[in-house]
Subunit: 576 residues, 2 copies
């Protein structure tokens, strides 16, 4: 991390760990890269398929972005590359525009990665990292759950070998109904067997007795998908399963990923821009939480904009090496850290292994059945589909619960991008709604103390000539009318009123609309011979009020404490 | 106003004053209706012209809506009818769709009034009155100022007698440049003389010596526009000014306003809907402030939804009697109240006079020069164009100041509706921006007291093992990251830290996102052997936290007061 007298070299995060690199770290990094690679090869190819792209692009997406992040990113263990949700978003962006798998579709995927990179880089350089906060946790959670559901449904077309549409659930059901009688039973059998294998074998490895017998059981359970891939390729190859209609990956060109600028037209770039912006947002969300944990554990300052820049450069790297948008993968990062990765070099080693795979082993994967890849996706993604968070959230906060359901149904019933936007907008509306309905309480003195509490909750003392009010929200245009309406109704019910005291202890801001409301209220109350008083105004609010005419126009007074206000005003009232 | 044992009859506001009506009230009402009518006839015709409609429609708009409001509205003095801003909005809605003044344009204006009525009625019945609060005062102010500027500019085409375009200022300047050499000097002379007359004569009447001599000087000064109208008609008639190219109102059909449903197609209704919604919003803004003042002075409860219903019915009345959208006019309401109007019957009398005018006197107005009507509009509207509020607002609050300028330039440079929407959206963005950057302070004890204050503002005592933090904002997804980032940075700078105490005295709400942030923070800090503690949690927030697992998971403790927290934790730290 940069220190106070940082030179340019020291500003590059890689410098800090490269200086102290030693043999121990090298061993740990190499070992963990083995474990990660066993996950990455099938995952990379599978996620490329989720994005509607040739599986080899999943390998490409795991090479250059990883190396770039290792140089400029802040987390030593973050594993960057293809990720299910981002692949699904790539698919949702490109699918309405081009035919899946066509050359222009593939070019557009590279361009999309480049755009995501440029947007992230731009946001990072101009310190717009805070924009991430526009998406609330419930919306992200619900978005991930609903997207996972759509991704799983989208893979069923490979299991069933019929052209199902999984843009949203209604369309999926419609196409399923249409093609139901065409489901290819051999593919389905193959796929279901694969799913069974993927679910049961890791359970065996994680059983205590097996764990006791085998030292490497953790590694073996991570390698189950890779093992399945190898076994199924062998089956297809030796039993000639293609003859039974089992579809396979097909010929994969070998070699380095071609380094080239993606095909660029302004028209296309503008079409892809909204999708790219959302992908940039979500990929940052995914990476940031990992980076935050890292920063805290290292007791280092978190620079979220630096993280955005790293993510941006990684995606630009993806764009110019025939890959598609990437981000930090939480699952691979956890595996990487658990396996003992010490520095980002672990990620670099993974990348180098992938290079070896794409140079020499692509021919090997041509017999890999699509149904098996689909099965690996379904098994890994299905864990994310759970409904408990919806009910837990609802229990804690109705507003957050509503936002979750709105996001879920938006994603599931319309499409992934529209659903996300609807979810984000709904949180804003719910927040504005909450602000517009502040908690306003008439308060009274708890006898024997200086504390004032809600008269509806506590047994308190009040004076019929003095109305004490507390608002538990900053005063803004959204709630100025609510406070005025509350006071109008209180005044209409109390004909002996001489003083209204507004307790400002919970108010950290008064905007112009509410300031004018207070001015109006002061004037209107004065016409009825009622004085408006203020108490317990916070420092910054007082500073601000000094710039207004309210304090000069105020019929009543400003008191430091509410207790003082009621004491002084009670005397005034009694003298009259 | 409805009392506790209200029957259906007593729910109609008119019942309460009709029961007690007497001769005195009758006299006052009749007199004030005379004064209002002197304003209303020229204003009505002029505002119809602002809306791009035949002047007679301004008379129609002053009849039925007024009678309906008198029956169901809450304010006894509110004068409902054509209003400059609403007319301008009508023009802005219809102008892009149809040719000005064409039969379909006129029909669409009636349909627009009907839609405004239906929307208002709907919002009132379903108690959506609170929606009004979405528009902040600075935006309304700026919107009115900018609209007034556009209205004044729009009238110059009648003064210059060339087809100027005043949709926005750039287009106005372009068309002015284009037609500059075609300006009709006779019209301009006539118009400028009228403006001079309208400005100077009321000044004479309001001069103390004149006021002393003439009892009726107030009435006379109100009647100046009507007097000008009469004089200019006489001039045109006797001098045959039409021959010199002076354009006049032309033949006005006499008779009652035709009662008919406006031409309705769903396509047209949907086209007009956004405009209608905005007109409904602004017309409610204009009326509500008047109704609020009325309610407070009568010490009656304010029912803003009832007010929306009244406005809705009035606009439906306008829609079916060949009129255009109406609302409460602040200027005429003030005159009406000053003139001594006691009950809504004053408004009914005005309406009846207007009926007489439209039955027998329309022929009289056919020689009224358009330049004179334009002059009355310019003089009355120009008073609204002032820039002091922009600077005053800026001084009090930068955010409100920005919203004002954004609205102003939106209206002036794009168009009236887009400007309003931009203004409203900008206030939301600024509010979210403010929430996302909460005031967070490290606090310390002021020696000899139990008070904790910002260490940057006050000379306070702190303990190197205990970090005390206060956030002056509710915790939401918008600022959860900001607080976490702040803490990460504080922790990175302090290696002796054992306890973090979050003072919650300014927090009235914790949403799920920030709750999860606190959970994360608690866990991550625990890994560093730092305890997260909470102090001074408000009752409702505590109620909510009981529904979560945070309190159970918390490494530290919850304290009633911050002083107690620091006392107890200091002892803990010292024992260690």
């Amino acid at each position: 991390m940069p220190n106070s007298k940082s030179t340019l070299l020291e500003k590059i995060p890689a410098w800090s760990w490269l200086r102290h690199y030693n043999q121990d770290a090298f061993k740990s990094d190499l070992l963990s890269s083995f474990i990660v690679i066993a996950m990455l090869v099938p995952q990379g190819m599978a996620y490329a398929m989720v994005a509607g792209l040739p599986p080899v692009m999943g390998l490409y997406a795991s090479i250059v972005p990883m190396i770039i992040y290792a140089m400029v990113g802040s987390s030593p263990t973050l594993s960057i590359g293809p990720v299910a949700i981002i692949s699904m978003m790539t698919f949702a962006t490109l699918n309405p525009l081009f035919e899946i798998g066509s050359p222009v579709y593939i070019q557009a995927a590279c361009l999309l990665a480049l755009l995501v990179g440029i947007i992230s880089l731009f946001l990072g350089i101009f310190k717009f990292g805070f924009l991430i906060q526009l998406i609330s946790h419930p919306v992200i959670k619900s978005f991930i759950i609903a997207s996972a559901l759509l991704i799983a449904l989208g893979q069923l077309k490979f299991l069933f070998n019929v052209p199902l549409n999984a843009n949203n659930v209604p369309e999926f059901l419609k196409s399923l109904f249409e093609y139901f009688s065409y489901i290819h039973m051999q593919s389905l059998f193959f796929g279901l067997s694969a799913i069974l294998f993927l679910i049961s074998v890791p359970k065996i490895f994680s059983h205590p007795t097996v764990r006791g017998l085998l030292n490497a059981s953790v590694f073996l359970s991570r390698a189950v998908p890779l093992f399945l891939v190898v076994v199924s390729i062998a089956l297809v190859y030796f039993l000639n399963l293609q003859n039974y209609g089992i579809k396979t990956v097909g010929i994969i060109p070998s070699g380095f990923p071609p380094l080239s600028m993606p095909f660029w037209t302004w028209e296309l770039a503008i079409q892809l821009l909204p999708g790219a912006a959302m992908i940039a947002m979500i990929s940052f969300v995914e990476s940031l939480s990992i980076a935050q944990a890292t920063a805290l554990q290292q007791r280092s300052q978190l620079n979220s904009n630096q993280e955005l820049i790293a993510l941006g450069l990684a995606n630009i790297g993806a764009g110019v090496t025939s890959a598609f948008p990437v981000t930090g993968s939480l699952s691979r990062t956890v595996v990487n850290a658990d396996a003992g990765a010490k520095t980002p070099l672990a990620g670099v080693f993974s990348s180098l292994f992938i290079v070896v795979v794409s140079l020499y082993f692509t021919g090997f994967f041509s017999d890999l059945p699509l149904a098996v890849l689909a099965a690996t996706i379904i098994v890994s993604i299905w864990k994310l589909v759970e409904f408990k968070p919806f009910f837990e959230t609802w229990q804690y906060s109705k507003a957050d619960g509503i936002a979750m359901w709105v996001t879920f149904f938006g994603v599931v019933c319309i499409d992934i991008s529209t659903g996300l936007i609807i979810g984000i907008v709904s949180t804003f509306i719910l927040m504005l709604w909450r602000i517009s309905r502040p908690h306003i309480a008439v308060i009274g003195l708890i006898e024997g103390t200086h504390h004032f509490r809600n008269i509806q909750r506590y047994d308190v003392v009040t004076n019929p000539h003095i109305l004490s009010i507390r608002v538990d929200e900053n005063l803004t245009f959204l709630n100025a009318n609510a406070l005025k309406g509350f006071l109008i109704n209180e005044v209409s019910q109390n004909h002996n009123l001489k003083h209204v005291v507004l307790n400002c202890s919970s108010i950290s801001g008064i905007d112009l609309s509410s300031l004018e409301m207070l001015e109006d209220l002061n004037l209107e109350l004065a016409k009825l011979n009622i004085c408006l008083n203020l108490s317990e105004i916070k420092g910054p609010v007082m500073d601000n009020l000094q710039n207004s005419k309210l304090l000069a126009h105020l019929k009543g007074r400003v008191f430091l404490t509410h207790y003082e206000a009621t004491q002084v005003l009670s005397k005034d009232v009694n003298i009259e």
